[in-house]
């Protein structure tokens, strides 16, 4: 069984997989117990599985584990905790920008990636930056407000 080394949330890990095409999502959730990223579609259509690969948002449901090898992966858990949240997480909590919360991982990780690249986005830039993330509960306006709040933090 092939072994893959990567850095996950700042720590070096080795994982083994029988299938080099296994999506990173399953490795994170089932082998490493990191449940922030969620399975939504497996098709790169909704964004619920988003993680950062070397700081940039990727869809872990279609990222083969072999592609993540020797790279740095950050999950929602790696950003912060309820006690010590990342500014984006803090903004989402302050705006109560979740209903069911199943898409929230993707929203926060996408926001982190967006703000890494564009620290002071306009509302329109944020809307466009989230064009590939789906929210079914209709929490859009709060999510947008949270990202704008995080940009000001």
């Amino acid at each position: 069984m092939a072994r893959y080394s990567m850095k996950v949330n700042g720590r070096a890990v080795d994982v083994e997989s029988w299938d080099p095409g296994q999506p990173l999502l399953y490795v994170l959730r089932n082998s490493l117990g990191l449940h922030g990223p969620k399975f939504g579609c497996g098709l790169s259509q909704c964004g619920a599985c988003t993680v950062l690969l070397d700081g940039k948002a990727v869809r872990s449901c279609v990222t083969p584990v072999r592609q993540a090898a020797n790279h740095a992966v950050t999950t929602l858990e790696g950003l912060g905790t309820p006690e010590k949240p990342d500014p984006v997480q803090a903004a989402f909590i302050a705006e109560q920008a979740a209903q069911c919360g199943y898409c929230t991982n993707g929203m926060i990780m996408t926001a982190r990636s967006l703000l890494n690249q564009t620290p002071q986005p306009s509302l329109e830039q944020v809307k466009q930056g989230f064009a590939g993330n789906l929210c079914r509960c209709g929490t859009h306006t709060r999510i947008l407000a949270a990202v704008m709040r995080a940009a000001k933090a």
Binding site: V27, H35, G42, Q96, A98, Q99, T139
Partner: protein
């Protein structure tokens, strides 16, 4: 339950053989959490909803646990119910634990549907808490040798009014059960003195949801658990002719499970199950019995009718209609829609000889327990259903079906089994919100007042009994064949003054796809038709749509929301369409709608501003204003979140959503085939809450959805002069309508 008809075991399943972690992170392996805190200690507690102990426990440390069958599907019930209890008992909300939807622990207050979480769930618990308050005063009176009316309650303790030391609740109760019946007359706190109810307290689950700490059902696991995926047939009712197990021979440790036409793969490794389900070769009988979604409207009109029912019958519209100054008629249509949950449904079942446990995100734990027990031959008292959060469900999505999948598989393989549906399973196989067809006719007098009104609608009949579960059907297990999509016929008559009104439903024997309740069942389509047609009447009379509505209403609460929404959107009084309609490339307009939800609950007025691109037909909502009166407001921020969600989700349903199917199967099986609203389309949303602290609270999980489609259609009419009567308002459809104008 009989033995499986065909099971093959290619290799011995070994946990963890597919993937090994050689260096774990922190706690490492998947978290195995207690399903809900305090569960084991509480087993055997009372469940009878007449008993206080069924709803509330006071622990020796003074903390309180609340038990309810109503579940928080992202709606804020967890904080709202705590606030109601905190108010009655003067305890801090963070000293109250919340156990929800566990058939072994929570009294059956009905499922979570019809916006009953607060008005039934919360109100019943509040009455239990009020009963406890009186009991605590009585206990303290005995202990302190003072009359109860010289005692008061504050900060989780009973105190003498005259001063001196008090007795904490925990000490008074001493860890015992209260053994009291709920007193329906126990006095409630005076709303004028509310300190906790009405405050925008933060929801306790949000920090966990934003940091990956919140445990969803999809994240939950139990020891020895296997992963499974179900291989659904290419058409409902197709027979499984053969399975080629060699097609998955290269995937490690996979077991193919077959029971008649139920086909699944089970593996220790989830990815192995996913791949095996995808790659397993099976042949099925060809079934082509669906009418296709293309001409569903005419199919409905010609479908067999079980019976006709006069829902409203006031005056004699047939006689009054011909004498009216002007008569109008129109047909409105709403398609099949999917719950389209963002996370596919999931369940874990652990069937053992001594009893079975099913973890589920179903909105009705008790109903699911009863259905599964009856269907799979398990005594009801040996089957426990425990709720855990899934993705938002908005009614009965795939949750009940996937629970049946998991139970059947655990029963078959003798291990706990987790099943998570794939995207195509959820979009393809969730029971759907029904299509609705309405013919409307009205006669108005010379001033535009309604003289006569007739609604004729085609709706699927409710057949008693639970809807058939996919797994049981496929496995050949006998089960009831109910059909129920909720209360579909409400809000089909105008809420405005009208002397002669008749609403008739043609209840159809069957419709092509399996049905269930989807948020605000029936009411959105009915209000779309009624409130659009009211706009047609106002336009025919050359009257301003807001003034037209207000003239027909006398209930002050109705008038209040309409006045408020008019102010919020800077409503300019004039008839529709906009004088600039159809001039220029970008057409703009405003529209509104009013609904009293279920004709007996929330008052909601909604207005919006839209722009329509003339060349593409693309419709963009710029701004939405909503004035909302649901009586007493428990938590205004949670309430706003629900109202905003209702608005955005229903804009999505109105602009984009339609389940497509061919002669065999649903074909809109992913987010490309079943698009929903995207962020660039998100409008600015403004919500005004008209709080009525002295009145009863209504639920707010659905009401604001009801006027959305009509308000949007009316705004498009104002912008373009074109009336949209078929949902969804896709760009193609709007473009075609503009071309005809």
């Amino acid at each position: 339950m009989t033995a499986p008809t065909s099971i093959s075991r290619r290799s011995l399943l070994q946990q963890g053989s597919a993937l090994v972690v050689s260096f774990a992170l922190g706690a490492g392996l998947p978290r195995r959490v207690a399903a809900q805190a305090g569960a084991a200690a509480d087993l055997g507690k009372p469940l009878d909803p007449r008993q206080v102990d069924s709803f509330l426990a006071i622990h020796p440390d003074g903390s309180i646990t609340v038990y309810t069958s109503k579940v928080d599907v992202g709606t804020g019930l967890r904080i709202a119910v705590r606030q109601m209890v905190a108010e009655e008992l003067d305890v801090p909300v963070d000293r109250i634990a919340f156990v929800e939807g566990d058939t072994a622990l929570t009294p059956d207050q009905g499922g979570t549907g019809g916006s009953t979480g607060i008005p039934r769930g919360g109100v019943e618990i509040r009455q239990a808490a009020a009963t406890v308050r009186q009991a605590l005063l009585k206990l303290a009176a005995e202990r302190l040798q003072r009359p109860a009316d010289q005692l008061t309650i504050a900060a989780s303790a009973v105190w003498p009014v005259s001063g001196g030391s008090g007795i904490p609740f925990g000490t008074l109760v001493g860890g015992r059960r209260l053994s009291l019946e709920v007193n329906p007359k126990a006095p409630l706190q005076d709303p004028a003195r509310y300190a906790v109810v009405g405050k925008p307290l933060a929801r306790p689950d949000v920090p966990g949801k934003c940091t990956g700490q919140h445990v969803y059902l999809q994240d939950f696991s139990v020891p020895g658990m296997l992963h499974a995926r179900v291989v659904r047939p290419p058409a409902a009712g197709a027979k499984l002719l053969s399975v080629d197990e060699s097609s998955v021979a290269s995937i490690p440790d996979v077991r193919v499970v077959r029971r008649q036409d139920f086909l699944a793969v089970v593996a220790a490794d989830e990815w192995a199950a996913v791949r095996a389900a995808r790659e397993l070769k099976a042949s099925w009988s060809d079934v082509q019995t669906l009418p296709g979604s293309e001409n569903l409207e005419s199919h409905l009109r010609s479908s067999a009718v079980e019976r006709d029912e006069a829902i409203v019958n006031r005056g004699d519209p047939a006689a009054a209609m011909p004498g009216s100054a002007r008569q109008l008629k129109a047909t409105y249509y709403w398609p099949f829609q999917s719950h389209a949950s963002l996370g596919p449904s999931c369940s874990i079942a652990d069937v053992r000889s001594e009893g079975a446990t099913v973890w589920s995100s179903s909105q009705g734990s008790h109903g699911l327990r009863n259905t599964l027990a009856r269907t799979f031959g398990i005594p009801q008292d040996q089957l426990r259903v425990i709720y855990l959060d899934g993705a938002g469900s908005y009614g009965t999505n795939g949750a009940d079906d996937v629970a049946a999948d998991a139970l059947l598989l655990s029963q078959t393989v003798g291990r706990p089994v987790r099943v998570q549906w794939m995207r195509g399973d959820e979009h393809g196989w969730d029971p759907k919100g029904p299509p609705q067809l309405l013919d409307l006719r009205a006669g108005i007098d010379g001033d535009g007042r309604i003289v006569a009104w007739e609604t004729e609608m085609w709706l699927p009949v409710t057949v008693p009994g639970t809807r058939p579960l996919l797994a049981a059907d496929a496995a050949g297990v006998t089960q009831p064949r109910g059909q129920n999509a909720g209360l579909l016929s409400q809000n089909a008559d105008p809420p405005y003054a009208a002397p002669h009104v008749r609403v008739v439903s043609h209840w159809l024997k069957e419709v092509p796809l399996r049905l269930s309740n989807l948020r605000a069942p029936g009411k959105i389509a009915n209000a779309f038709a009624v409130e659009s047609f009211i706009d047609e009447l106002a336009a025919a009379a050359g009257l301003d749509p807001l003034a037209y509505r207000m003239r027909g209403l006398s209930d002050p609460r109705a008038l209040d929301v309409l006045k408020r929404v008019g102010a919020m959107i800077d409503w300019q009084a004039r008839p529709s369409p906009n004088p600039q309609a159809l001039q220029g490339a970008l057409l703009t307009g405003r529209g509104l709608a009013y609904v009293r939800y279920k004709q007996s609950e929330n008052y909601v007025a909604m207005a919006m501003e839209v722009e329509v691109e003339r060349t593409t037909g693309e419709t963009r909502v710029r701004r939405v204003a909503c004035a909302h009166d649901c009586g007493l407001v428990i938590n205004p921020d949670s309430l706003r979140n629900q109202i905003e969600g209702n608005i955005l989700q229903t804009l999505s349903r109105t602009l984009h959503e339609e389940v497509k199917f061919d002669r065999a199967r649903v074909t809109s099986v992913d987010w490309a085939g079943y698009p929903i609203l995207r962020f660039p389309e998100a409008p600015a949303v403004q919500v005004a809450l008209l709080d009525r602290p002295a009145l009863a609270p209504y639920g707010a999980g659905e009401a604001a959805a009801a006027p959305v489609a009509a308000a949007l259609g009316n705004a498009v009419f104002d912008a373009t002069g074109v009336r949209l009567r078929t949902v969804p308002f896709t760009a193609e459809r709007v473009k075609a309508a503009l071309a005809r104008a």
